[in-house]
């Protein structure tokens, strides 16, 4: 869906990032209309890259955009993807990013944390709202998942 650079260009950028000593953070958006096989291929490519962090986004179909009519991803498929990405990337920081509220809801968010997610972006996103940070912090406490670092902007 990206037209500004090719897959190979991005791959070589990430290699350069790693070689220069920076931490590699690379994830993607699920629910763009890809097949399960393509999702698995993506997870395998990430495993080869072995990034420090993998933000996992779920498409929030925006009206008026080319993918505006794409259905919201099935929460069960999203949870399966989380588990599969965790198995493919056993040591990475697997981060909840955009779209989790709309795709997974509250119960799914909890299940994802139990199923492989170990980092969360809290609060609002760039142009849409997220649930209150306090709600996620409370959930992490309930699940006895200690908070290692909270952005100082909060």
């Amino acid at each position: 869906v990206v037209t500004t650079h090719s897959w190979d260009e991005r791959w070589s950028t990430l290699k350069m990032v790693r070689e220069s000593g920076m931490e590699v953070c690379c994830g993607g958006i699920l629910g763009l209309g890809e097949t399960v096989e393509q999702r698995a291929e993506f997870a395998a490519q990430l495993a080869e890259l072995d990034p420090h962090e993998v933000p996992l986004n779920f498409l929030n179909p925006r009206p008026g955009t080319p993918l505006g009519d794409q259905p919201v991803m099935d929460p069960k498929d999203a949870l399966r993807a989380i588990a599969a990405f965790r198995l493919a990337l056993p040591r990475t920081i697997l981060r909840y990013a955009g779209g989790r509220e709309i795709t997974l809801g509250d119960l799914g968010t909890r299940d994802g944390l139990l199923g492989g997610i170990n980092a969360v972006i809290v609060g609002n996103y760039l142009t849409t709202l997220g649930r209150p940070a306090t709600q996620d912090l409370q959930l992490l406490q309930e699940l006895k998942m200690p908070v290692k670092a909270l952005s100082s902007t909060l």
């Binding site: 709309i102 809801g105 968010t109 609060g123 609002n124 849409t128 709202l129 959930l139």
Partner: protein
């Protein structure tokens, strides 16, 4: 899927949106979202602000 059920999803999606249009005059507003809140400014009717999506029972 029934129309009513579709609007359940609409309501849930709407909760994750800052206002984009002025409720007084319908003008498109200038909207900025930051991690802890949002501001929306109508050129005619001024600024309104808010926080995150409403907390849900979980």
């Amino acid at each position: 899927m029934s129309g009513t059920l579709l609007h359940v999803f609409c309501a849930r999606a709407l909760d994750l949106e800052p206002p984009r249009y002025c409720i007084t005059c319908g003008r498109r507003m200038k909207v900025q979202v930051v991690p802890t809140g949002w501001t929306a400014e109508c050129v005619q009717h001024g600024v309104s602000t808010g926080g995150t999506a409403s907390p849900s029972a979980s």
